[in-house]
C-alpha cells in the first residue's frame, strides 16, 4: 500500500543507498578510466576496508581511527597491488587484467576467511550515531544520516581533487585518451600508482563506514562488486558524474521497487541496465566511440 509518506521515505533512502554506491563506483570508474583496468578485486578491497575498520574499532573503540586506518590500509594495499601486479599488465590486453584481478579477489577473500573465519563480525555503530532521528516525514537511523553526509562530503572532495588539481587534470585527460597522460610529459607510472591507490581507498573507505550497517563477512564484497558494475555501465565509462548519477539511480531503483515488489528490486537494476544498453550503450555520461 504505497502512500505518500512511505514514498518520500523510500525516495530519501534511495538517495542514501545511492550515494554510498556512487562512492564505491567512483573508485572503480577512475581506475577504469585512467588505467584502463577493470578491477575485479574492487569488492574484495571494500571487504578488506570493513575488516580493518572492524579490527581497529575493536582495539581502540575509535570510529575515526577505524575509518582512517581502514582507508589507509586499503590505499597501501592498492599501491602494493598496482606496483606488484597491475604494473605488469599495462602492455597486455584488458582481458588479462580482468583475469588477474579476478584471481586476486579470490586470494584476498580466502585470506580474510583464514584470518577471521567465515563468521559475521560485529562492528558497533559509534555512540554518536546510535539512535534514530526524526526527519519530519520519516524517522531515520542517525548513523545512516551521518554516513550520507560523510559520503556526500567525500564525493565533493573527490570532485575537487578531480576538477581542481593537477592530478585530477591528469586523471580526466587520461579518461579522455590514455595516451595523453604520456604526452603531457607526466610521470605516468606514479600517476597510475596514485590513481589505483585512490580508487582502492574509495572502496576501503566505503567498506569501513558501511561495516556498522551490513554484516561483515568475507563474501560481503561480491554484491557490492556486481552493483558497482551495473552503476558504471549505467553511468558510462570512467565518468565521475556518471558514477554519481548511476549510483543514485541504482539506489532509487532498489528503494522504489521495494515499495511495490521488494523481491524484484535487484532484478529491476539489471532491467534498467539492459534498457540503458539498448537506448544509450555508452552509458548516460559515456562518450561515443570509447570502448
Amino acid at each position: 500500500m504505497p502512500n505518500l509518506s512511505l514514498f518520500l521515505a523510500q525516495l530519501f533512502n534511495g538517495l542514501a543507498l545511492g550515494t554510498l554506491l556512487a562512492l564505491i563506483s567512483t573508485g572503480l570508474t577512475i581506475i577504469l578510466g585512467t588505467l584502463g583496468v577493470l578491477n575485479f578485486a574492487h569488492g574484495a578491497l571494500f571487504m578488506v576496508g570493513a575488516y580493518v575498520g572492524y579490527t581497529v574499532m575493536q582495539a581502540t573503540h575509535s570510529f575515526v581511527l577505524a575509518v582512517a586506518c581502514g582507508a589507509l590500509f586499503v590505499l597501501v594495499l592498492g599501491v602494493v597491488i598496482e606496483r606488484g601486479l597491475i604494473r605488469l599488465y599495462y602492455e597486455r590486453p584488458p582481458e588479462d587484467q580482468i583475469l588477474m584481478t579476478f584471481g586476486l579477489s579470490i586470494v584476498i577473500v580466502e585470506t580474510v576467511r583464514l584470518i577471521f573465519t567465515g563468521i559475521s563480525q560485529r562492528m558497533a555503530v559509534p555512540d554518536w550515531g546510535s539512535g534514530i532521528f526524526n526527519l519530519g516525514f520519516m524517522i531515520y537511523p542517525k548513523y545512516r544520516l551521518i554516513v550520507m553526509i560523510i559520503v556526500v562530503v567525500t564525493l565533493l572532495v573527490l570532485y575537487l581533487v578531480l576538477y581542481r588539481t593537477r592530478l585530477g587534470l591528469v586523471v580526466r585527460a587520461g579518461i579522455e585518451d590514455q595516451r595523453i597522460v604520456g604526452m603531457l610529459g607526466l610521470n605516468v607510472q606514479r600517476t597510475f600508482m596514485v590513481v589505483f591507490g585512490l580508487g582502492a581507498m574509495a572502496a576501503g573507505y566505503a567498506g569501513v563506514i558501511d561495516a556498522p550497517i551490513v554484516s561483515v563477512t568475507p563474501d560481503m564484497g561480491q554484491t557490492v562488486l556486481v552493483e558497482s558494475f551495473v552503476v558504471v555501465v549505467i553511468g558510462g565509462l570512467g565518468s565521475f558524474p556518471g558514477a554519481i548519477l548511476g549510483g543514485v539511480i541504482a539506489g532509487e531503483i532498489i528503494s522504489l521497487t521495494s515499495m511495490f515488489n521488494p523481491a524484484y528490486s535487484q532484478v529491476m537494476l539489471y532491467f534498467v541496465m539492459a534498457l540503458v544498453l539498448v537506448l544509450r550503450p555508452q552509458g548516460l555520461f559515456g562518450q561515443e566511440g570509447r570502448e
Binding site: L32, G36, L38, L85, L88, Y89, R92, P93, P94, E95, D96, I98, L99, M100, F102, G103, L104, I106, V107, E110, T111, R113, L114, Q222, V226, F229, V230, V232, V233, L237, A263, Y264, Q266, V267, Y270, M273, A274, L277, V278, P281, Q282, E291
Partner: protein, 625 residues
C-alpha cells in the same frame, strides 16, 4: 612404425591428427588416471566442464570475448532438460538435451544482443551482471519450475539403445564417463571444424584486431553474436549433461562461481587451444580433491588455487596447453630456420613481383578529365566537442585518378579518411561512392562496396601469420560480410588460397607466408598493411602515409609498388613525403586546419603561394621538429 600403413600415417598427418590424439587420450584415460586418484565420477565431470569450456574457448580464446556470465546458459540448458525429463514431458534424453541446448542458445541470443553492444571490459561486466540476474530468476520467480534453491532432483539416467546392445548408464560408473567422453569428442570435433573454417578465421581476426576485421569488410557484430550463441549452446548442452550425470540439477549451476571456475580452468589449461578447458578442468578438479583431503589444508584449497591462478596468468598466460604448443612451434621454427638464415635480409618487393613495373610516364594521366567521379564528399565536417577537425570539405576524385592529400599534422587528413571509410560518422555532410550515398554506413559496408584503406599506423592481425592475415580480406571479398560456413574447410578452398598466394607474391611476402607478423621487418609490415587493403580488390584504395618510417630502399620499393597498383585503380594517398607525392599524384588536395586550402595539379600546388606560406613553411618546421 611398420604397424602403421603409409595411408594410415598420412591420414594422421592430414588434418585429423589432433582429433585422433584426443580420442586416444580419452580412451586411455580410464586406464591411467585412476592410478593417481581419479574416479569415474570426477572424470565424467571433467568431460562436462570440457564441453562447457569448448564453447567458452571459441568465445574467449578464439574471438577474444571474455564472458563472466556463461553460467546462465549452463543453467538454462540444464534446468530446461532436467525439467522436461523429471516431469516426463519429453521421455527421450537426447530430445530433452536438444531442447535445453536450443533454449540456452535462444537465451544466449537475447543476452548477446544486449551485452555485445559493448566490448572488452564492458562486455565482461555486463555478462557478469546478466549472469547474476539469471541466477536470481532461477532462484525466485521461476522456482516453481526449477525448485528454487533446492534444484531439481530425479533426473533419469539414460538407457542407450545402440541396436547391438542396451546400456543402462549409471552415475559414478565408467559407462557414464564413456557416454560423456563420446559427447565431448563430438563437441570437440565440431569445435575444431569451426576453428578451421573460414568462419573461424574471421573469429581469430576479430580477436586480434576487431576494427581491422571490420575494415576488411566483415560484419563483426554478426560473427560475435553467432559465436556467443554457439558458446551458449555448448554451455546449455553441458548443463543438461550435468543434470543427467548426478540425477540432480543443482541451482549452483547458475552462480558466478560456476562462470568464474570456467574462466579459470580455461585460462589454466590454455585458452585458444580447445583442449585447454578440458586440461584445466582436470587440473582444477584434481587439485581441489587432493588439496581438500590433506588435513589442515582442506579449507585453504581455494586460496591455493587462486594464488596459482594469479601466478599463472602473470607468467604463463598461454596456459599449459598454450605453452606446450608454443614450445613445439618454436622448436619447429628453429629447425626450419637455422640452415637457410636467409631471413635476415628479406627479399624486396620488386624482385618478387611477377609483373614488370609500369613506368611512371606510362601510367600517369590514366584518369582522363571526363572519367566519371567515383568518390565525392559534399560539405563534410567532423567536430569533436568544440574541436573542428574537418570543416565543410567538398572533394571529388575521378575513376582511375591518383590523388594526394597533403597538409601539416593536425590538418584533418586522417579524420577525413576515417569518414570516407565509415570509421567516423560525419557531423555534417555526405559522402558518395559511385554516385551512391555511403555516409555513416560503417567500415564493413564501405569495404564491401569497394573502397579500402591502409592505415598510417600498422593495423595487422598481430599474432597471425602473413598468410592468415591476408586470408581475412580475401574471405570478405569471396564470401561477403557474413556467412555461416562454420563447417567448411578453409584449407580446401582453392580460390581463396590462390588469391592469398597471389597477393603475397605481389607484395613480396611469399617467403614469410607462415611466419607471424611479429617477426617481420618494418618495411615488410608496411607492405602487409597495404596488402590487407589491396586484398579486398578495392576500386578505390586509400593509403594513409604509406611511406612513413621507411628506409630509403624500402621507400623506393614502395613507390614502385604504388605505381603498379594504380593500374586499374583509383588511389587516394595521404603523404608527407613531397617528392613521392609529386612523383605519384595527378592531382593534389591541400588541407589546412580542417579546411580544403587548395587543389590542383602538382605544378599548380608547387606554385601556389598560399600553400607555400601556410603549408610548406609549416612543414619545414615539422620536418625540423
Amino acid at each position: 612404425m611398420s604397424l602403421f600403413s603409409r595411408r594410415g600415417l598420412s591420414l594422421l598427418r592430414g588434418g585429423w591428427r589432433i582429433e585422433f590424439a584426443v580420442a586416444v587420450s580419452l580412451l586411455l584415460a580410464p586406464y591411467i588416471l585412476p592410478w593417481i586418484g581419479f574416479n569415474a565420477d570426477t572424470m565424467a565431470r571433467i568431460m562436462i566442464w570440457g564441453l562447457f569450456g569448448l564453447g567458452f574457448d571459441l568465445l574467449f580464446g578464439y574471438t577474444g570475448l571474455l564472458s563472466f556470465g556463461q553460467a546462465a546458459f549452463f543453467g538454462v540448458g540444464g534446468f530446461v532438460s532436467a525439467y522436461l525429463l523429471v516431469n516426463g514431458l519429453v521421455p527421450n534424453v537426447f530430445a530433452a538435451l536438444l531442447i535445453g541446448t536450443l533454449l540456452a542458445a535462444v537465451y544466449g541470443a537475447l543476452i548477446g544482443l544486449l551485452a555485445l553492444r559493448r566490448v572488452g571490459i564492458y562486455f565482461a561486466m555486463i555478462t557478469l551482471a546478466f549472469g547474476e540476474m539469471s541466477f536470481f530468476l532461477e532462484n525466485s520467480p521461476l522456482s516453481a519450475f526449477t525448485g528454487g534453491e533446492n534444484g531439481l532432483p530425479g533426473v533419469p539416467t539414460p538407457v542407450l539403445h545402440l541396436g547391438f546392445a542396451t546400456i543402462a548408464l549409471k552415475s559414478g560408473q565408467w559407462n557414464m564417463y564413456g557416454f560423456m567422453a563420446v559427447l565431448f569428442l563430438i563437441g570437440f570435433v565440431i569445435a575444431r571444424r569451426i576453428v578451421k573454417s573460414p568462419f573461424g578465421a574471421v573469429l581469430l581476426a576479430i580477436r586480434e584486431n576487431t576494427s581491422r576485421a571490420r575494415a576488411c569488410g566483415h560484419s563483426v557484430q554478426k560473427y560475435k553474436l553467432t559465436i556467443f550463441i554457439v558458446a551458449a549452446a555448448y554451455g546449455g548442452f553441458a548443463g543438461g549433461l550435468l543434470g543427467i550425470l548426478q540425477a540432480y540439477m543443482p541451482p549452483d549451476a547458475f552462480t558466478l562461481q560456476t562462470s568464474g571456475q570456467l574462466v579459470m580452468q580455461t585460462v589454466i589449461g590454455g585458452s585458444g587451444t580447445l583442449i585447454g578447458p578440458l586440461v584445466g578442468a582436470t587440473i582444477w578438479l584434481y587439485l581441489r580433491e587432493v588439496l581438500q583431503h590433506i588435513p589442515d589444508i582442506g579449507a585453504l584449497w581455494k586460496l591455493i588455487l587462486g594464488a596459482v591462478f594469479v601466478i599463472l596468468v602473470t607468467v604463463f598466460r598461454r596456459g599449459i596447453c598454450g605453452e606446450i604448443l608454443r614450445w613445439g612451434q618454436r622448436r619447429e621454427a628453429l629447425a626450419t630456420n637455422s640452415p637457410g638464415a636467409t631471413e635476415v635480409d628479406p627479399p624486396r618487393a620488386r624482385s618478387r613481383s611477377p609483373r614488370e613495373p609500369a613506368t611512371p610516364e606510362a601510367s600517369r594521366g590514366s584518369a582522363t578529365d571526363d572519367a566519371p567521379v567515383i568518390l565525392e564528399t559534399r560539405g563534410l565536417s567532423k567536430h569533436f566537442g568544440g574541436v573542428h577537425a574537418v570543416t565543410e570539405v567538398n572533394f571529388s576524385v575521378r575513376s582511375g585518378e591518383v590523388r594526394a592529400l597533403i597538409g601539416p599534422n593536425g590538418a584533418g587528413k586522417s579524420t577525413f579518411f576515417k569518414m570516407l571509410t565509415g570509421e567516423h560518422i560525419p557531423t555534417a555532410g555526405e559522402i558518395y561512392f559511385r554516385g551512391d550515398q555511403i555516409t555513416a554506413q560503417g567500415p564493413t559496408a564501405v569495404s564491401q562496396l569497394g573502397m579500402s584503406k591502409s592505415y598510417q599506423i600498422n593495423q595487422l592481425f598481430a599474432s597471425l601469420t602473413v598468410r592468415q592475415n591476408l586470408t581475412i580480406p580475401v574471405l570478405a571479398r569471396q564470401r561477403g560480410p557474413f556467412r555461416l560456413d562454420m563447417l567448411r574447410r578453409l584449407d580446401r578452398w582453392g580460390a581463396v588460397n590462390r588469391k592469398v598466394e597471389e597477393i603475397m607474391q605481389l607484395m613480396g611476402l611469399a617467403e614469410r607466408a607462415d611466419q607471424p607478423t611479429s617477426v617481420l621487418a618494418y618495411g615488410e609490415k608496411r607492405r602487409l598493411e597495404i596488402g590487407l587493403a589491396l586484398a579486398m580488390e578495392p576500386e578505390v584504395l586509400l593509403l594513409d602515409e604509406p611511406l612513413a618510417g621507411m628506409s630509403p630502399s624500402e621507400r623506393a620499393d614502395t613507390i614502385a609498388l604504388l605505381q603498379e597498383l594504380r593500374i586499374g585503380r583509383t588511389l587516394v594517398v595521404v603523404e608527407h613525403d613531397m617528392d613521392a607525392v609529386f612523383e605519384l599524384a595527378e592531382h593534389i588536395t591541400v588541407f589546412y586546419e580542417g579546411e580544403k586550402l587548395a587543389e590542383g595539379t602538382p605544378e599548380d600546388i608547387k606554385g601556389n603561394s598560399q600553400v607555400q606560406d601556410a603549408y610548406l613553411g609549416g612543414m619545414d618546421e615539422d620536418e625540423l621538429a
